[in-house]
Every structure is written in C-alpha cells, then in structure tokens.
C-alpha cells in the first residue's frame, strides 16, 4: 500500500462540501426568515436561541474539546453584558462596536486571573472553582446596587444604531435589525471557532481532554493551553453577552445565577458535546421547550427537568447522536 505522506488519515476537515452546503442552507434560511415571516415573537425567540447557542458553543470549547467542566459559564456572558450595558449608558450611547470590544476586553481581564487559578486544578476541583467564582460574580452584581441596579437589573440601556462599513441598518431596538446582527455575529463566531478547533492548536486541546498526564509527557505545557482554552471560551461567552444586552436592553442578576448556569450546561449535553453545532441545536431545543411549557404552567421548571431527564436517559450522546440511534432502532426492527 502506498502512503501519501502529506495526508492525515481520518482527519477532521474544517469544511467539507457537505458541511459547506449545510452551513449555507442554514445561513440563507436564517437571513431570509424575517423577510418572509414577519412574526416579532418568533424572530425574538430565535434571536435568543442563537445568543444562548453561542454561549453553549463557547462552553463546548471548554467541555467538549478541552475536557474542563464549567458550571457557571453564564457568568462570563453576564459580565460581558453588564460591561457593554454600562458603557452604552455612561460613556457612549452610540458606539456599538466599540462597546462590544470593551465588553470582550473587560471580560477577558476578569477571566484571566480566574483562569490562572482554575487551571492549576482539573476535573472536579476545576468545576467547583468555576462554581465558586461564578457565585461570587453573581453576588457582586446582585448587591452592588449603585452600579448594576441590583435586583432590579440594569435598565435603560440605549438602543444604538447598527453600523456596518458606514452604512446604517437601523437601531437594535428594531427586532429585525437585532436579529440579523445576531445571525451574522453568531455565524462568524461559529466559523471562527470551527476553524480554531480544527487547527494544530485545537489538537492540543483535544489531547488535554483525552489524557492530561500524557499530554504533559509529550511536551505540552498543559496549564498554559488549558488557560488558552478557558480564555477562548470566556471571550466567546462575552460576545454572546454583548448580543444579549443589545437584544434585551436589560439584564438582571438571575442571568448570572447558578440555576441559569446549569441551563447552559444542559444545552451542551442535550445537543451533544464536542461538536460545536450540537450545543447550538441544544440551545434551540432547551429554549423552545422552556418557552412552550412556560406558556402552560408557572411551574415549568419541573416539566423541563422531566423532559431533560428523559432526553439524557434515552439520548445520552445528545441530539447529534440521534442518527446513530435511529439506525440501530431500524436495524432491530428490520
């Protein structure tokens, strides 16, 4: 057998013809949607799904690729959102892109020392530290009334105009404009993250996920790369945070609670971790179910819990594993 020494066997490719086609179809459908179906409620709902999809995807970088569990990744969405909101209220109500950059930078600045401490551990200790730091941030936001509005949340966030190459699309107060902004930003983040995951850098994260000890013994500085993975995940979460505050015009401390953090984790597990697109689907399922059930009962969390339990029991690999399940099911029948 002749071996092509320049090729990598069973290499996971950044883009294949099939994935390009799938991404193109989804992208076109999402962009066209508000023009053919002008339903404000559903456009807003999909907007929210995409924002939390980005957050779940950022958690997947950590959980599915680096093998690190964060219980409160929503904290970094929250920090990004508060910073962007405060910037728009107090400094400049119109500079939308600059506000977003400040949000990402501020979140990174906070995530860096936290990550520095956390990567000194692994496994359960790492997960517990994420919970400890997350609860601290939650409490700060909740109690620092003069800055964050405490319980009442951050209100009166301006709705800046969305500029693209000097061309105004309208303000973020217009659901359609906000929705299209979200589609573009989340789409770009997905492509960028996918690119990074398939790079040599991504392979280092996977090696750490598979076997931290072995990774150190092939010469990888495990702590440093865990920190890089953490920073990437937090920066993506802060982008979701910037979108969140622009979309809602409001953020309260519950968005940063441990309860909401568990929800993000469920999105990743429901969709299927280690795939990037799985958690995006997971966010869609999770938000759809919670929205649907909450219209019927105010104790919707109980029923959501039941649905999640059933899904985890019968689809342990998440939504992405549904194809394999169906195949096996049909084989047994046939």
């Amino acid at each position: 057998m002749m071996i092509d020494r320049t090729s990598i066997p069973a290499d996971t490719k950044y883009l294949t013809p099939a994935s390009i086609a799938a991404i193109a179809v989804v992208a076109v459908a999402l962009v066209m949607l508000p023009f053919v179906w002008d339903n404000r409620f559903y456009i807003s709902l999909i907007n929210e799904m995409l924002i939390f999809g980005l957050l779940a995807m950022s958690l997947d970088v950590l959980l599915g690729y680096t093998g690190l569990l964060s219980f409160m990744h929503n904290a970094y969405l929250g920090i990004g959102a508060y910073v962007v909101g405060l910037f728009l209220i107090h400094i400049s109500p119109t500079s939308i892109w600059f506000a977003a950059l400040v949000g990402i930078a501020a979140t990174s600045l906070i995530a860096l020392p936290v990550g520095w401490v956390q990567v000194r551990t692994g496994g359960l200790a790492f997960a517990l530290l994420t919970l400890a730091f997350g609860m601290m941030f939650h409490t700060v936001v909740w109690k620092w009334y003069s800055l964050t509005g405490g319980d009442d949340g951050l209100m009166g966030v301006p709705t800046p105009e969305v500029h693209l190459f000097g061309w105004s699309l309208g303000t973020t107060g217009d659901p359609k404009v906000m929705y299209l902004t979200t589609v573009v930003v989340v789409g770009l983040c997905y492509l960028l993250t996918r690119r990074i995951i398939h790079s040599p850098f991504g392979s280092v994260l996977e090696a750490i996920r598979e076997n931290e000890d072995r990774a150190a013994f092939v010469g990888i500085n495990v702590r440093r790369y865990k920190l890089y993975g953490w920073m990437l995940a937090c920066m993506l979460a802060s982008i979701a945070g910037a979108l969140f505050i622009l979309y809602k015009g409001y953020i309260g401390p519950t968005t940063m609670s441990a309860f909401s953090g568990a929800g993000v984790l469920m999105m990743v597990l429901l969709g299927g971790m280690g795939t990037l697109w799985g958690p995006l689907i997971g966010a869609v399922i999770f938000i759809y179910i919670s929205d649907y059930i909450s219209t019927m009962t105010e104790h919707w969390e109980i029923y959501l819990g039941l649905v999640v339990i059933l899904l985890v029991l019968f689809l342990p690999t998440g939504f992405v594993g549904i194809g394999d399940h169906l195949k096996r099911f049909l084989k047994r029948k046939g």
Partner: protein, 248 residues
C-alpha cells in the same frame, strides 16, 4: 567525558516510607540500562521522580550537567527526556496517527497556529508517518487508539514517546501483559533503540532483561544494592537474597 543523566542522593518518601532512598546513578548517553528489583522496590517511583511526575523529597537530578530536579514535565520532554507508562497511557479516542502526530507537533512546534489546518505542519505529518512505519503501525493509522489490541497499544505508547525525539527514554514495564510473540517484537525494537539513544528499562521479565541489557541496576527498598553487567548481577549474592530471601 561529559556526564549524561545522573542522580545524587535522590530521595522520595511517602510519609515514613522511603520509596527512593539516596539513589546515585550515572546513566550513559547510549546503551540499555535495566532497573530491576522485587515488587515495591521503588522502580516506578524512581522513574517518576526523574521524569518530573513526582517531586523529589531531596537530592538532585542532572542532565548534561544541568540541574533538572523538579522541573516541569513538559520542559524535561523538550530536553529529550521521554517515557512510557506501566499502565498504558495513550489518547484513547484519537486515531493512532493523531496520537503520534500530537507528540510530534509538541516537539517541532506549531501548536499556537489557530487558523491553519493540521496538515499544514508538513514536517510533523511526514515524521509521524516515518515513526508509524518504523514501528509497523502504519496500517492502523486511521483507527481510534482504543480499538487497538493491547499489544499494539503498548507499541503505540513507544511510538508516542519516540515522537518526542528522546535522548533518553524510560520504559516502564513495556512488555507487561504481552504474549511471547509481542514480547519478542518489542524487545528487538528496544535493542534497536538502545544503539541510538539511552534506554532505561524497568522490567520484570528476567529472561528479557538478562538477554538485552548492557548494564543492570538492582533496587531494593528504594536503594541501589548492585550494579553491573547481566552475568555479574546473576552471580551477585545480595541480589539473590533480595529476590529469594536469605538462606538460613
């Protein structure tokens, strides 16, 4: 002649137990050194301390004249100090190729490239193929490592270590649990390596140790009690006592 890898009064204790007790060893820049000893003699602990998996309690490790005591593992690997593990330690869900490729990438650099494809690191890909061919693993390249037979996993572990371009390679019981044919295969491989680099072998299979070692060190209760050529060790009274107990 420049010293290669030396330890000076190296100690490691767990509570009151001296697992490694004032070990002084002077390992040559090539050839095959075996470390033997009864169960619990502290062979694995010794390797763990030298390769940076466990911190030393006291004493010193030097490599080419530099003090490397308690340096982080990844730095030791970059200096050419590599190892395999007694309990197979590989990247289970990655392909055989990727297992070796990641080690090669860590060696040659390029891990901070975030926007290029993995195969853009051409030297990494080529040298990975070369290692797989040398160890006859090329036909399994696309298989997830967890699907491999146990013996092949042990060989893969050696392949991962070799990708780090070691100057000294520590092999912790590489033949444990292998069939006679697999043992034969890996012993030829080890002998071949020892002609190029320094190999330190921890092994229980005495026939294997006696047939391929250049020098043997015997550990007993954490200390070296004998050192010499295989035939010298075989005739050493203290070694017999350590293994068989004192004759009454």
């Amino acid at each position: 002649m420049e010293e290669f890898l030396c330890t000076e009064d190296l100690c490691r204790h767990f509570g009151g137990v001296m697992a490694t007790n004032k070990v002084c060893i002077d390992i040559e820049a090539n050839g095959l050194r075996s470390i033997i000893g009864p169960n619990g003699a502290g062979k694995t602990t010794f390797i763990n301390v030298v390769t940076g998996r466990l911190p030393a309690s006291s004493g010193k490790v030097t490599f080419r004249g530099r003090d490397i005591t308690n340096k982080p593992t990844h730095k030791l690997v970059k200096m050419g100090i590599c190892r395999t593990f007694q309990i197979t330690s590989i990247f289970q869900n990655l392909t055989v190729f990727e297992n070796v490729r990641i080690a090669k990438q860590a060696r040659l650099g390029g891990s901070l490239r975030v926007f290029s494809a993995r195969k853009s690191l051409k030297a990494v890909t080529e040298q990975t193929w070369a290692i797989l061919e040398r160890l006859e693993l090329q036909d399994l390249a696309d298989q997830p490592a967890k699907n491999l037979a146990y013996g092949d996993q042990r060989v893969l572990e050696v392949a991962i270590a070799l990708a780090g371009e070691p100057q000294i390679l520590f092999l912790d019981e590489p033949t444990a649990g292998m069939s006679p044919a697999e043992t034969q295969h890996i012993s030829e491989l080890i002998r071949g390596l020892a002609d190029e680099i320094s190999v330190v072998l921890v092994e229980h299979d005495m026939d294997l140790v006696m047939s391929i070692s250049d020098v043997i060190s015997v550990l007993h209760y954490g200390s070296i009690i004998a050192e010499g050529k295989p035939e010298e060790i075989q005739n050493n009274e203290m070694v017999r006592e350590a293994y068989l107990g004192k004759e009454e």
